[in-house]
């Protein structure tokens, strides 16, 4: 996967593979797919396709300004950064990822009133009746109902930034892949269990 970034694209990767090494200043071929990995986000006005593959309890957040064709996607894995001391990259948490994306879209010229949001994911992958999950809270879903909490936190952050949530495909017990075509604003969700659909 090529890491791309030009002057009008900002991306927060976890800085693993030469974060600064592969920055091109030329526009890439249109419709290139950018993989937004776990805890990453990307905001761009290029005509890329942004994709988060295999969302389980993670939540994919798409923000789109249709007027100016500016869009962003985040692949958040945790609801809330406030209780965490060592925060790491903002793309990891629902609150910080959405804040960062909104700010960067505004830098590219978006107005908050024009930004709309779609979210997907937040599933509960393993259900064991009567099992004790990692926080030692008895409950049917292993993993502290983290999917559900991610969805709630994403919605709360969107409300806080006064961004309208226009569609969601969340919950359930299956993984999803979210694709977002910036040129058309089209968001598709695919899963092994339910095939592909437009959101």
């Amino acid at each position: 996967m090529t890491r791309i970034r030009d002057q009008r694209e900002s991306r927060n990767a976890s800085g693993v593979e030469g974060e600064n090494a592969t920055i091109g200043s030329e526009k890439q071929a249109p419709e290139e797919t950018v993989n937004i990995g776990v805890a990453e986000y990307c905001v761009t006005d290029n005509s890329h396709v942004l994709a988060s593959y295999g969302l389980g309890s993670c939540v994919g957040v798409v923000l789109y300004d249709e007027k100016r064709r500016i869009g962003g996607m985040a692949h958040v894995m945790l609801p809330d950064s406030t209780a965490i001391t060592k925060k790491g990259n903002p793309g990891k948490f629902a609150d910080t990822a959405i804040k960062a994306m909104v700010e960067e879209m505004e830098k590219l010229g978006s107005r908050r009133a024009d930004i709309k949001a779609k979210i997907a994911g937040g599933a509960c992958m393993f259900t064991i009746p009567g099992a004790v999950n990692p926080r030692n809270v008895p409950g049917p879903c292993l993993g502290m109902q983290i999917g559900e909490r991610n969805v709630e936190a994403a919605k709360a952050a969107l409300r806080e930034h006064r961004i309208r949530l226009v569609a969601e495909d969340t919950g359930g017990n299956y993984g999803r892949t979210m694709r977002f075509e910036i040129s058309s604003g089209k968001v598709t969700i695919s899963s092994i269990k339910h095939g592909r659909k437009e959101l």
């Binding site: 389980g56 790491g88 064991i128 009567g130």
Partner: protein, 203 residues
Amino acid sequence: MAEGRGLTPLQLDALREVGNIGSGNAAVALSTMVDKKVLLSVPRATLVPLVKVSDLVGGAETPVVGIYLHISGEASGSMLLLLEEHSANQLAHLMVSGSEQGELSMVEQSALQETGSILAGSYLNALSQMTGLLLRPSVPGFAMDMAGAIIDFILVEISQSEDYVLVIETEFDILEHVIKGHLILFPDLGSLDLILGRLGVSG
């Protein structure tokens, strides 16, 4: 490469040894169960960035069967048995004779679940003996889905404070049947220090 948390070569060696003995035990259990030879790879102990964890099994969208056990007791973490779709089918047919090809039946699913439980149990037994720590595996959870989706919630606990996760991974092969699986141990970070201490290689 690991910001904030470097592991020395000696520590990584010790963790590989944990993987070796743990999965050795698990392989014996598996071999007895299916009455076939089981080959093991040299275990890997690596700090993997969160973004890359699903690459261990061929990418986030790869369809896999995952059997998950949470570890509690004196140390905590997660244990995951991952099988690619084909391997899962093959293994299920070995366990439940006379079953048909195609989608996994409930019986086959529960057979795989039990396999995961037994493998994890023997792995953890070995780890427990090496470290003197009491480790309790949970009831196994079963999921059949994209690898990324199966792995991501396991990272939640670990990733609250770190952008890397320690993965101790062994691949196994049941030769005549082209069955390949991954047995992965994700120790929680606090527990990692404890385990390293018990192994006599604390930082």
